[in-house]
Amino acid sequence: MRKLVLAAALTLPMLAAPALAQDTLKIGYIDPLSGGGASVGEIGLKTFQLLADEVNAKGGIQGQKLEIVPLDNKTNPQESLIQLQKAIDSGIRYVTQGNGSAVAAALSDAVAKHNSRNPGKEVLFFNYAAVDPILTNEKCNYWHFRWDANSDIKMQALTSYMKDKKDIKKVYLINQDYSFGQSVRTQARKMLGEKRSDVEIVGDELHPLLKITDFAPYIAKIKASGADTVITGNWGQDFALLLKAAADAGLKVNWFTYYAGGTGGPTAIKQTGLDHQVFQVSEGVANGGAPGAIEVEKVLRAKYDISNFYPRAFNQIRMLVAAADKAKSTDPVKVAAALEGLEFDVLNGGKGFMRKDDHQFFQPIYISSFGSLADKSMFDDEHTGWGWKVEAKVDTPDTMVDTTCKMKRP
């Protein structure tokens, strides 16, 4: 028991945060910075730090300096809540997170509870990459804002594109067996059915998340089904390994993906030699030609040697500044009100807006394919010499999906 006192004495200086200086606005960045997801988390952190520099160079937010506080959540919901608590305890009023819808759901829930129990100390949660639709539908809440297109929106855009591709006849769905993968699969079935009832879904596979080391058996199944197109929400190693196995077996199909651009993805595509046969649905790539995006891409590559994975992070922080300007305050409650319905010129060109009903941001969505580059000035990825090429743009109105959210406003 004596040890307890000692430990407590040691704990105190560490967790008792210094009084927050009024001239900085801190955003708690809650994402993995150690463990399996760290490489992704670090990229996000660098992106946000770049953004903070940008904002501060222009005089900050309402005169306050913007600071990003990295908080390592080890991609674990429980750990995220500890980090959230830590952030709140040190006076942070804005948190952002992106990796893992499970984490986002936990954070969203915790932020809502905190805000209802601690009026006057509200915290806002900015979600930059967790795409489970549930967060802006059944589990929506007023304090959560999402800048990434959720998976339904992406599927809406993807199927809008596929509608006119008459060579697509047999589609195979392969997804990770968890909430995101399941929503991809359900929506693909539903939306394809609505837009292309002639397309046959010849396979619908759910495989365990991040546990498969050899996708050869799955590829054998795809091959046996005679599919000409595969739709997958797979990310990380589940994507890289899937493509690797496909290349090994000589499977020649078109791949419609959500996350082919993630770390390791471009390398895997290049290895398989599938030139412009792997498509990705996203809010844009620098090769799309928007001047703002190109500029940012250059800075990120020069400074950190990473590509811009998160154009939405730019939309997010710049919109925060805009909302604060509109509200003439950085008080989270006022900023939240200002954000609702706010329109914004997005990084990759075009208009987007934060829908008031569910706090989901809508923006133009691009379908791009990965392969050899016609133009030398274009960006390649992961030093493969290949890069993204925009195939189609789906404008904001065509990406709209309904929401079941019944927002409870304070």
Partner: protein
């Protein structure tokens, strides 16, 4: 359908042989030293990463030789300076040492190579389809993997049957307490056995690295399956490990190619039943539960036959 069976069988046997490369070393180490090496899959991972790095520097073929030697040397050092000193604290302490070691190796690999997947490629000379069956290619590299594992399997048999150390190992497999009577060089034999066991795991790592993903979590993914293999086969039984490796390799490969569920067998449930445990169980496909089948098998085997398929010892 037939092509699915042929391809799945080949893949299953291949995965099984890889498992055997690891489980054989694990089994021999367990028989000799009485300790289940929790870090065995970590040596497999080290093999893959060393293989990757050496391939970059000096090419794949030298790496195939040197990486296992390096890993074997590390294994010997672990035995000499780690396990031997911990032995006096009992088997639990030894098991915990290897448990901690698995943890540290993963962290060091992450420290050096980062957390992302490595760009570890199949050597160009083997990068072609070996044969095409019903329009599905089977990569030559996988045939090469199969060949290597079979060659090592045969080599292992020869060593066990024909050499002095092999005889000692065999004696240890059947009569573990006999190991104590080896005389003054028992330490050297232990060290050698640990070195060879970890080197075998490293060979598996070097050849599996390009075919599967070379990433810092590969040990964590494979480790538990490995224990399933040695326990299902029977702790301390080489033939059991062989059978269990193939069994689990095949079962896992075939399971993913099956879409059957209770719903497809008996028809869907009445939709008026809302989401519940029943609907979960009813609708889950065999493919979905493929990765947990080994654990189900483990628990079943241990209930029915606690000493494993071919085991003679109960603990």
């Amino acid at each position: 359908m037939l092509e699915l069976i042929v391809i799945s069988t080949l893949n299953g046997v291949l995965f099984g042989m890889l498992l055997f490369l690891l489980s054989s070393g694990l089994t021999i180490i367990f028989s000799m030293l009485g300790v289940l090496n929790f870090a065995h899959a970590s040596f497999y991972m080290l093999g893959a990463f060393f293989g990757f790095q050496l391939t970059r520097w000096i090419g794949f073929w030298p790496a195939l030789i040197i990486a296992p030697l390096l890993v074997g040397a590390i294994g010997m050092a672990v035995e000499r300076y780690g396990l031997r000193n911990t032995h006096k604290h009992g088997h639990v302490a030894e098991l915990l040492l290897t448990f901690g070691l698995a943890y540290i190796i993963e962290e060091i690999v992450q420290l050096i190579w980062g957390k992302g997947p490595m760009d570890y490629r199949v050597p160009a000379i083997l990068d072609f389809p070996a044969f095409t069956i019903f329009s599905t290619n089977y990569p030559a590299y996988k045939m090469f993997m199969l060949l290597i594992s079979v060659a090592i399997f045969i080599g292992l048999l020869v060593v066990l049957k024909r050499t002095r150390v092999g005889l000692i190992v065999q004696a240890a497999l059947t009569h573990p307490h006999m190991v104590g009577h080896l005389g003054h060089n028992v330490g050297q034999v232990f060290m050698l056995v640990f070195g060879v066991g970890t080197a075998l795991a490293a060979i598996a790592g070097v050849i599996a690295g390009p075919a599967l993903v070379t990433q810092s979590d590969m040990a964590m993914l494979l480790g538990p399956i490995l224990f399933v293999v040695v326990v299902v086969g029977g702790l301390g039984s080489l033939s059991g490990a062989f059978i269990a490796s193939l069994l689990i390799g095949l079962v896992q490969t075939f399971a993913v190619s099956m879409n059957g569920s209770l719903a497809s067998l008996f028809g869907p449930l009445d939709p008026s039943i809302g989401p519940s445990l029943l609907t979960d169980v009813w609708n889950v496909t065999i493919a979905q539960i493929a990765p947990i089948i080994p654990y189900l098998l483990l628990v079943l085997i241990l209930i029915v036959r606690p000493m494993g398929l071919m085991g003679t010892r109960e603990t």
